[in-house]
Amino acid sequence: MSQWVRKGLATGIKTTCYPGREETAPGVSPGLPLGGDYPEKQASELVKRCTVGALSFQNHKLVVDYRRCVHCYRCIRGVTLPIAWQQGYEWATDTNIIETRKKFVRAFDRSLNIIVVDTGDCGACLNEVRQLNNPYYNMHRLGFFITPTPREADVLLIVGPLTDHMREPLRKVYDAIPMPKWVIAVGACALSGGVFSPSFVCDENISEFLPVDVEVPGQPPPPLAILHALLVVAGLKPPASLITQSVSLKHEEVKKQ
C-alpha cells in the first residue's frame, strides 16, 4: 500500500490560492453576461434572443436577472452584436445583509457544517458541490465540512428547482437543523426554477418555501462561487451585489413573454 503514500506525496499541493488571492486558471468559471448601457437596437435583439427572460431593457439600460440566466450563450453566440461577458466567480449575494449578519456571524466563528439537499437538480450543481472536496478546492482547509445529518448542520445548501416530491423531505431537513441556521440556494434553478418552472411539479421557488440567506446564481455556479457563498456565511468575504431585487421577474410576467 505504500505506493499510495508515495503517489500522494509526489502529487504535491494542488489547492487553489483563493480566497487569499484571485484564482486565474483558465476554465474555473463560465462567467456571466454583463448588463449596462447598450444601444437600443442591440439590446432589443439580445432581449429577444433570451428565451428564459433573464434579459430586459429598462430605463435605457440592459438589465440581467442573474436568477434566471441559464448559460445558454444565446446572447453571445449567433448574434450580430454580442453582449459583454464578465469572468469572475464571486457571485454569492446576501438577501438580507444587515439583519442576518448581526444575528449569525458571531455564532459560526468560521467553521461550518453543511448539509446538502438536492431538490431536483440536473446533476451539474451537485457535481460542482462535490468538487469542493477535491484537492483543487479542498474546503476542509477553511473549516467547511459536509455532514450527512441535519442535527450537526449549520448551513443548509440547496441545489435544484423545488420539485413536488422533495418539498416534504426538504421541510423535514430544515426543521431538524438546530437554530441558528443559514440557507444557501445554489444555481439558477434554485433561485428561479430555471427552465423547469412554472409547472405543476415545480411551482414555487426555494425562497418562497424557506427563508434563503445567500443566493448563488449560475447554471451551474462554479465551485469557487459556491466557496464564496460559504465564505460570505462565515463572514470571511463580503457578498457580491449582482442581483438587484427590482429586476427579478415574477413567474407570471415570464409566462406572458
Binding site: T11, A25, G27, V70, Y73, R130, P161, S199
Partner: protein, 525 residues
C-alpha cells in the same frame, strides 16, 4: 437479415400487418392489430434478436398511438411496431411478461397517461407517488394544463412499506431520499436479516420535473434548453440526441466540420464522465489517495472543457444544423493534447488500483449481473458491457459520422463491480483515441447550416456516457413541439439495479451503487 426480409417474414406470419419501409433512414414501420402486438414483439425480440429501445405513447386527436421501438444489434436498422386504439378505450396487452425491459415503460405510461396494460402485475404508484398525488391524475393528457398547480391529497400517516421477506429477525431498512453526503434523492427499501440484505427496492422520481409535459407547445429552441439541462452531467450527449431528431425531421445534412467537432465534444464529455465515475467508485471504497487522484483529473477535465468551450459542462453548443461556436484547429489540437496527458495519468491510476488488494476485495464478485439478467432487463452502456453485451450505438447505429472512426467497444464477462470499473477505464482510452482521430482529420468549412423547422416526427439517438439514449420528437403544424419522449440510459439501468443489489452484505451497498453509475436526474426527467 435486412429490413425487407424481416418485413416479408412478418407479413407471412401476420397478413394484417401494414408495413412502410423507408430504406433511406433504415426504418421499417409495421402497423399491427392490437391483439398481434405481443406476438410480433416476441418474435422480433426473441427470434430476430432485435433490441427493445422503448415505448412511445402519443395521444392523437382521435386515437392512441403506441410505438414500440426496436433496433438491430448488427446492422443499421430500426423497426417501429405501431398500433392504434380509440381514445375512449385505452387498454393494451402487456408485453413485459416476455420482454422484461418494457416493464417500466408500461408502468410509466399507465401512471402518466392512464393507459391500462392487461396482464401487467404491478401498475400504479410509479412516477407520481401515491401519498402526494390524487388518484386518476393523468398529467400527460393534452387536456391537463401542465403550468397550473394541482391539489394534493393529505398524507397517509398510517402507510407502511409492504415487506416480502418473512424470516425471524427480518426488517425493512429505509434509506433516503436524503442520505449520506452529496447524493441525489432516491429512496431505497432494503429488506434485511441482520447484516445480509436480501433484496433492494429503489423508489425513484423524487426529482420528477415533467420534462416531457412542459416541452409540449414550446418552440424547439426552448425545448433544446430542457434537453440539455435535465441531466447535465451528460448534457452534450442529450442535446446532441435532441438536435439530431430535429435534423432527421427536417432532412438536414450537418456540415462535416460540425460533425467532427460534435464527435470531439461528445468524447470529451464521455472521458470526463468516466473519470468522475471512477472517482465515485474509489470514494465508495474509501481509498482516499485514489479518490483524490481521480478528483484532480475530473477537475482538470472540467477546466479543460471550460477553457475549450466556455462552459464546464458543455452547455449551449449543439444547435439544429451544427454547432453554436466555431473552434480553431489549434485550440482543438491543444485540447486533445491536454486530454491525452490526463489520460496517461488515468492509466497509471488504473495500474495502481489493479494491484491494490484491499480495493479489489471490495469490488470483485460484488453486485453481479450475469449476461442473461442484463439481456432480460435490456441494460445499456458500460454496465451492460461489463456483463458480456457488446453493444454500442456508435457501432451498431452510427450517427454523426462515427462509422469513420476506428475504436473498440470493450466487453467484460464477469458482470461484477470490478468488470464495470475496467470497462470505464477502457472506454476512457477509446474516447481519447477517437478524439485524436477527430482532430487529425479536421475538415474545413462552416460549423452551422440554416434549419427551417418542418412538421413531422423522428427519433434522435446517441450513445451517451451512461448508455443508449433516445429522444423522440414530434413537431406540430405550428412548428412547436407536440410530443417529446425521452428514453434515457439511467431509466433502463435503474430498472435492472435490483438484480445487482440482491443477497449482499450491507457494507457493499455504496460500492454496488457507485459501480452501477446511475443518475437520478437522468432517470426522473
Amino acid at each position: 437479415m435486412t429490413l425487407d426480409n424481416i418485413q416479408e417474414i412478418a407479413i407471412r406470419h401476420w397478413p394484417d400487418i401494414k408495413p412502410r419501409l423507408d430504406l433511406s433512414h433504415s426504418l421499417c414501420e409495421m402497423e399491427c392489430e392490437l391483439e398481434d402486438i405481443p406476438d410480433v414483439c416476441k418474435w422480433l425480440s426473441l427470434e430476430m434478436h432485435y433490441v427493445f429501445a422503448g415505448l412511445i405513447v402519443e395521444e392523437g386527436s382521435s386515437d392512441w398511438e403506441l410505438r414500440y421501438v426496436f433496433y438491430s444489434d448488427h446492422e443499421p436498422g430500426w423497426i417501429y411496431i405501431l398500433t392504434h386504439q380509440p381514445l375512449s378505450d385505452p387498454a393494451f396487452p402487456s408485453i413485459s411478461g416476455f420482454l422484461h425491459a418494457a416493464d417500466w415503460h408500461e408502468r410509466e405510461a399507465e401512471d402518466l397517461f392512464g393507459l391500462y396494460f392487461a396482464g401487467h402485475p404491478r401498475l400504479g404508484d410509479f412516477v407520481l407517488h401515491n401519498e402526494r398525488w390524487q388518484e386518476k391524475l393523468r398529467p400527460m393528457l393534452h387536456s391537463f394544463d401542465g403550468k397550473k398547480s394541482v391539489e394534493h391529497r393529505m398524507p397517509d400517516l398510517e402507510w407502511k412499506p409492504n415487506l416480502i421477506v418473512k424470516a425471524p429477525g427480518a426488517f425493512g431498512m429505509t434509506i433516503g431520499p436524503k442520505f449520506s453526503g452529496v447524493t441525489e434523492p432516491v429512496h431505497f427499501l432494503l429488506e434485511t436479516v441482520g447484516e445480509d440484505v436480501i433484496r433492494t427496492i429503489p423508489r425513484l422520481f423524487y426529482k420528477y420535473r415533467a420534462i416531457e409535459k412542459i416541452a409540449e407547445r414550446l418552440t424547439t429552441e426552448s425545448t433544446l434548453l430542457l434537453a440539455e439541462r435535465f441531466a447535465a452531467t451528460t448534457a452534450f450527449a442529450h442535446s446532441l440526441a435532441f438536435v439530431q431528431s430535429i435534423e432527421n425531421i427536417c432532412g438536414i445534412k450537418v456540415p462535416e466540420r460540425a460533425q467532427v467537432l460534435r464527435v470531439l465534444l461528445a468524447e470529451l464529455e464521455r472521458l470526463r464522465h468516466h473519470v468522475g465515475a471512477v472517482q465515485e467508485i474509489c470514494e465508495s471504497t474509501a481509498l482516499a489517495v485514489a479518490t483524490s487522484q481521480a478528483a484532480i483529473m475530473e477537475e482538470e477535465l472540467l477546466r479543460l472543457s471550460g477553457w475549450f468551450t466556455g462552459h464546464r459542462y458543455l452547455f449551449g453548443l449543439a444547435v439544429p444544423g451544427g454547432l453554436n461556436k466555431e473552434f480553431d484547429d489549434s485550440v482543438c489540437h491543444e485540447a486533445v493534447q491536454q486530454a491525452k496527458a490526463i489520460l496517461k495519468r488515468f492509466d497509471r491510476l488504473e495500474e495502481m488500483l489493479r494491484v491494490s488488494s484491499s480495493f479489489l476485495d471490495r469490488l470483485e464478485e460484488v453486485g453481479i449481473v450475469n449476461q442473461l439478467e442484463a439481456m432480460k432487463h435490456g441494460l445499456v452502456g458500460p454496465v451492460a458491457r461489463a456483463s458480456g453485451i457488446t453493444r454500442d450505438l456508435r457501432k451498431v447505429q452510427p450517427y454523426s459520422g462515427y462509422e469513420a472512426y476506428t475504436f473498440e467497444v470493450p466487453c467484460e464477462q464477469e458482470g461484477d463491480g470490478y468488470a464495470r470499473l475496467r470497462v470505464l477505464f477502457e472506454e476512457a482510452r477509446q474516447s481519447v483515441k477517437i478524439m485524436e482521430q477527430a482532430t487529425a482529420s479536421l475538415p474545413g468549412g462552416p460549423v452551422f447550416s440554416e434549419v427551417r423547422i418542418k412538421p413531422g416526427s423522428a427519433l434522435g439517438w446517441v450513445e451517451a456516457p451512461r448508455g443508449a439514449a433516445f429522444h423522440w420528437l414530434r413537431i406540430g403544424e405550428d412548428g412547436r413541439v407536440s410530443r417529446y419522449r425521452l428514453i434515457t440510459p439511467s431509466f433502463v439501468n435503474w430498472h435492472g439495479f435490483h438484480v445487482a443489489a440482491e443477497n449482499f452484505a450491507f457494507q457493499d451497498f455504496p460500492i454496488i451503487l457507485a459501480t452501477f453509475d446511475l443518475s437520478v436526474a437522468e432517470n426522473d426527467r
